[in-house]
């Protein structure tokens, strides 16, 4: 058993930690307040190779492993969730389907721009009435004169509507009981993108509703064999859960960091509040649970890197760290007292950013369904 990171993994973690502290932290509050997409940071992240971390070098990525990727996402979330989800959704949900299921031609066409971060990719699975219950998908695609003609709409889609969004991979019904994945380029006639949706948190990330009306997509944009869409997106979500679990660890760690620092500044009843056991015990519990959550997440990533089954561990990590991040944000804000409720204290932003980690890419309840299934129930 070896629980050490490799020197490369450590250097990835330290580099992203420094980047998040020096480049992201100073602007996070402003980006959140103005609900402004972090174009400049995405450009810098692209230059560092963080927009295509797990994509092989031959397609323009950095050729990193899943453990490095999880560490990078954790470090970004520790400082700001909006920036982290922009990277995570682009990588795990937007770029991965093309890398995993695309033909060589599709990979050559799309991946270099996506992996370098000059273009962003989105994944369109969720609809107004369908998400984890993908069987309820109502968007359709019909093959007519060499084109897939798409009709329908998608909901809560990340990264689809920025100035640099390049494409969205959508699930669509291509027949009775048949779902397929299609790549739709931004700018395709009949593909409309709504104004940014207004959200509780993740305010600097791009979230849209998409609609398709007689939207003709070239036949060659079908991803993998026709009718494989269901299996494909399940596989995408399995991998995506590792990145959302890493976000849970990062958010919990960030909330802990803020509470740890504040408890040593704030004085009440003549002493630092960190001297009170009520505060110490909460921080001790959090530090312990964060270690557990990180171990669970990195193990799921490690299994994936070894080509072993990881879906059960990824769902467990996603469930555990989602709920952990809730406790961490809640306790951290409680330790901050009234100041924590004020916008100028970062914990208020982390508190708002946290909730979605128990909903996105499968709610806590859906994770339990997935885990129960793996347990043979």
């Amino acid at each position: 058993m070896d629980l050490d990171l490799t020197p490369e993994q450590e250097l990835v973690r330290d580099t992203v930690r420094e980047f998040a502290r020096d480049r992201v932290a100073p602007v996070a509050e402003e980006l959140d307040r103005e609900s402004r997409f972090p174009y400049e940071l995405v450009r810098e992240l692209g230059e560092l190779g963080l927009m295509g971390l797990p994509i092989p070098e031959e397609y323009g990525g950095a050729g990193g492993d899943t453990v490095s990727y999880a560490l990078a996402i954790e470090e970004l979330t520790r400082i700001d969730s909006s920036v982290a989800i922009t990277v995570a959704a682009h990588t795990s949900l937007g770029t991965m389907p093309i890398f995993l299921f695309g033909s060589e031609e599709q990979k050559r066409k799309w991946l270099p721009e996506l992996a370098s971060g000059t273009k962003l990719a989105a994944f369109g699975l969720t609809e107004a009435g369908a998400g984890s219950d993908a069987g309820a998908t109502r968007t359709t695609a019909e093959l007519r004169d060499g084109n897939w003609v798409v009709d329908g709409s998608k909901m809560f889609i990340t990264n689809a509507g920025t100035d640099i969004s390049g494409c969205v991979t959508i699930t669509a019904r291509t027949g009775e009981d048949e779902i397929s994945n299609l790549i739709v380029s931004n700018g395709t006639a009949g593909y409309e993108i709504s104004a940014p949706l207004k959200k509780l948190g993740w305010k600097a990330s791009d979230t849209r509703e998409l609609s398709f009306r007689d939207c003709a997509v070239p036949e060659g944009n079908l991803l993998g064999p026709r009718g494989q869409g269901f299996h494909q997106f399940l596989e995408i979500l399995d991998g995506g859960r590792i990145s959302v679990a890493a976000m849970g660890v990062g958010l919990a760690q960030g909330a802990y960091d803020l509470a740890f620092a504040y408890a040593q500044e704030r004085e009440q009843f003549g002493k630092k509040i960190s001297r009170f056991q009520a505060v110490q015990f909460r921080l001790a519990d959090l530090a312990t649970e964060i270690e557990a959550g990180r171990a669970l997440t990195l193990r799921a990533a490690w299994l994936k890197d070894r080509g072993r089954p990881f879906a059960r561990e990824a769902a467990m990590a996603k469930l555990y760290t989602g709920e952990l991040s809730n406790r961490a944000a809640n306790w951290s804000l409680q330790i901050h007292g009234g100041y924590g409720y004020m916008d100028e204290y970062a914990i208020s932003r982390l508190y708002r950013d946290q909730k979605i980690l128990e909903i996105g890419e499968g709610t806590n309840e859906v994770q339990r369904m997935v885990i129960a299934k793996h347990l043979g129930l």
Binding site: P7, L11, V12, T15, E18, F19, L48, G49, E57, G64
Partner: protein, 262 residues
């Protein structure tokens, strides 16, 4: 153009520093990292290499003295873009003082014969800020220190030195030794590709024997200084406490004027 950059693996800034009372040496067992201002020296070397355009011939070599785990810090500089590493590591070299260290580094640098030798102005652990001078002396090379701006032209290096009283502009023929200040540039982050590629770069670890240095000339036996005792700084003398009754600012100005500081 061959540039050697002397770098040091120091205890990480986040680690509380502790002196081992037995050896009277800094406890270096915790997390370490690349000395911060050395990253500026590496950055400057990379900029010079990449600007001189002779890409194929240009080379940035990292030279360091330290324990084997110093490779972890050197890896960051490799990931930033340096070409290779020469680490002098030997149990007999542990505890080398400034004089012994300068002699080991000079030996290693002689092997390299670089056109330009860069140092960070000082290390965050010992804060000596004189090693570069000792090394330049041993190599019989000209030296410019505290450099905030550096230009190379016509076989010479020109350094704008930051001093308490303004700037000195000094020119020296190559080869030369230059110690840079942290104001000289903003070090780049290692790119992910750089990180993945670092392990494929040449990393030579040399012992004292490889450098043909006798063990007596290194470590404690090769040092001219000996730490006899360590103590905390004496407590501050008389202090004055001002209570702000609305005239706080005036009182501070009065105090500074009294000390002739304003």
């Amino acid at each position: 153009m061959k540039i050697a950059v002397c770098v040091k693996h120091v205890p990480d800034a986040a680690v509380t520093k502790r002196i081992d009372p037995g050896t009277k040496r800094l406890d270096r067992s915790g997390e370490g990292s690349l000395n911060p201002v050395d990253a500026n020296a590496v950055e400057e070397a990379l900029r010079i290499r990449d600007a001189t355009g002779d890409g194929a011939e240009g080379e940035v070599v990292l030279v360091s003295l330290g324990p084997e785990k110093a490779i972890d810090s050197l890896r960051k500089a490799l990931a930033m873009g340096a070409d290779r590493v020469l680490l002098v590591s030997d149990p007999d070299a542990a505890g080398s003082d400034l004089v012994a260290t300068s002699s080991l580094l000079a030996k290693a640098l002689e092997r390299e014969g670089a056109d330009l030798v860069l140092f960070g102005q000082q290390a965050s652990d010992s804060d000596g800020a004189v090693l570069w001078a000792a090394v330049a002396e041993r190599l019989r090379l000209p030296l410019i220190s505290q450099v905030a701006e550096l230009t190379l032209e016509g076989g010479a290096v020109t350094g704008k030195r930051q001093t308490e009283f303004g700037y000195d502009v000094i020119r020296a023929p190559l080869p030369a030794v230059v110690a840079v200040a942290d104001s000289i540039n903003e070090p780049r982050y290692p790119s992910l590709k750089g990180i993945m590629g670092a392990k494929r770069k040449q990393q030579d670890v040399l012992s004292l024997a490889d450098l043909e240095i006798e063990a007596e000339r290194a470590g404690a036996s090769g040092s001219r200084t000996e730490v006899l005792a360590l103590s905390d700084p004496p407590p501050r003398g008389e202090t004055r406490k001002l209570e702000d009754d609305g005239t706080g600012a005036e009182k501070i100005v009065e105090f500074l004027a009294e000390k002739r500081l304003v």
